[in-house]
Symmetry: C2
Subunit: 238 residues, 2 copies
Amino acid sequence: MRAPYGLEIIESCLSCPHREDRLFCNLPPPAVQRLAAITSAAAYPKGATLFVEGQSPRGVFILCSGKVKLSTSSADGRSLILRISQAGEVLGLPATVTGKPYELTADVIEPTQANFISRTDFLLFLREHGEAALRVAQQLGETYHSAIAEMRTIGLSHSAGEKLARFLLDLSADHDEAKGEVRLTLTLTHEEIAQMIGASRETVTRLFADFKKKQLLQVKGSTVIIKNMAGLERVVST
Amino acid sequence: MRAPYGLEIIESCLSCPHREDRLFCNLPPPAVQRLAAITSAAAYPKGATLFVEGQSPRGVFILCSGKVKLSTSSADGRSLILRISQAGEVLGLPATVTGKPYELTADVIEPTQANFISRTDFLLFLREHGEAALRVAQQLGETYHSAIAEMRTIGLSHSAGEKLARFLLDLSADHDEAKGEVRLTLTLTHEEIAQMIGASRETVTRLFADFKKKQLLQVKGSTVIIKNMAGLERVVST
DNA sequence: GTGGCAGTGTGACGGCCATCACAGACAGGA
DNA sequence: TCCTGTCTGTGATGGCCGTCACACTGCCAC
C-alpha cells in the first residue's frame, strides 16, 4: 500500500513504538505473530472518519500515530466530545466485543495511521488467547474509568468555570510540571473545548480571558501555560 | 451464616435464579464449580455500603436480590447517581480487573443479597478460564455503553425538562407497554432523580407537576404511568 | 493584493433554573 | 396522641450563561 497522505506506513506491529507498553504487550510470541497476521495497516487524512455512532461494529482500530476525536451527538446536531485519542490507544473495543453498535463517532483530527482488526478475527483471537481477553478486559475497565471521570466534570459541577478548570487540570495531569508551571499544547479550538465540557463557545472564550486576567494561565498560540495550579484547583472546588 | 435482615440466604450460585441469563451463564461445569468455591454470600440491609469511591478494590459483588445505588460525589458534597443496579448485575468489575480504586460508591437502597469474590481469587479464575475473561470483557463493554448513554442525557441536553423526559424514556425501555401506557414503579425520591439527571430537587418536583398538567403522565404513590410516550419524545427533541 | 473562511473577542439581552424559605403531607415511633 | 424526620409542593429572587449580533484577526488560495 502506498502512503497517500504523506505518512510513512509502518509495516508491522512488531516495529510499532508503542508495542511494548500497550494493550498487547508481552503476549507470548506466537500470539503476537497471530495478531500481526490478522492486522492490516492504513493511513487516514485529517477529516476522515473511522466509524460512526450507530454503525454495527466492523472491528477495532489501534492507533499508531495521529489524533482521533471521539464524540457522540444528538438528533438536533448538538455534539459532545468525550475524548481525544492518541497513539497507542485502541478504538472501537466496547462495540466490537459486545456486538452492539458503535456508541461513538471517531473523526481523525490529525493525520493518523492505524491498524485494523476485523471483528470476527479479533473475537477468534481472543477466544484462542485467554490472556489477551483479560488484557482487553483491563483496557475496557480503564476506558470506563476515564468515562466516569468525564462524567464527573460534566455532571457534578455547574458553573462553566469549574468545568473548564477541571478540564485543564485533567489535561495537565499527563504533562510534566516545571517550577510550578505546566505547558500544554492543545490543538483544540474553543468550540471543541466547549463541546467537551458542555458549554458554549463564547463562554469558553470569556473564561479563558477571565483566567488570564486572574493570572491563572497564559496563552501563546496553541500552547497554554498554567501558571497557578492551586488557583485552578480553587476554582474547581467553589 | 444467619440471615440478619429478614432475608433468606441462597446457599449457592447454582440455585440463583439469574444464573442462566447472566455473566457466567453457560460456562463449562468445572468452571462453575470453581466459581462456586471462591464465592461467598452475604446479606446487606438498606443503608449498607458495598464499597466506596477511592477504596482500592477488594473484589466483585454479584447481586442476587435487592437494589444498589451507584454514585460518585465531589469534595463539596454534591453527588451524581449513575445507575441503580438490580439482581443479576455485577458490581466493582472495572476496578477489580484494572486494580485501580473503585470509581463509584455502592449504597444499598433495598435489602440486598450479594455474592462476593475476592480480587485475587477472581483474577486467578479469569486467568484459568479464558472464556470467562471474554465474558467479563463483554460485560464491561455493556457497562461502558450504558455510561455513554447516561452521559448523553446529562451532557447533550440542557433544559432540565429534556433530561427528565429522557430519563423516564430510558427507564420505560425496560418495561412493557400496554395500550399506549407504560407503568413504572420507581422507588426513587425526587432528590435522587435530581441527582441522576443533574438538576435540583425542586426542579424535578416542578417538572413532574408540569408533565402531569400536560397529560404526559400520571403519578400514583411510587408508580408512574406514562400516558403519552410520543409527547415525552417531543420534549426530548426540542 | 483580495476574497473567503475559520477562529476569536466582546457587548446586550433574556430565560432557565439553583437557591432560599416555608408550608403541607405522610409515616413511624414513643 | 404528638413528635420528628423525610418527602413533596410552591413562591420569590437573582445570577449564570446560552443565544444573537457583529467586529477583528490570521491564514490560505488564487
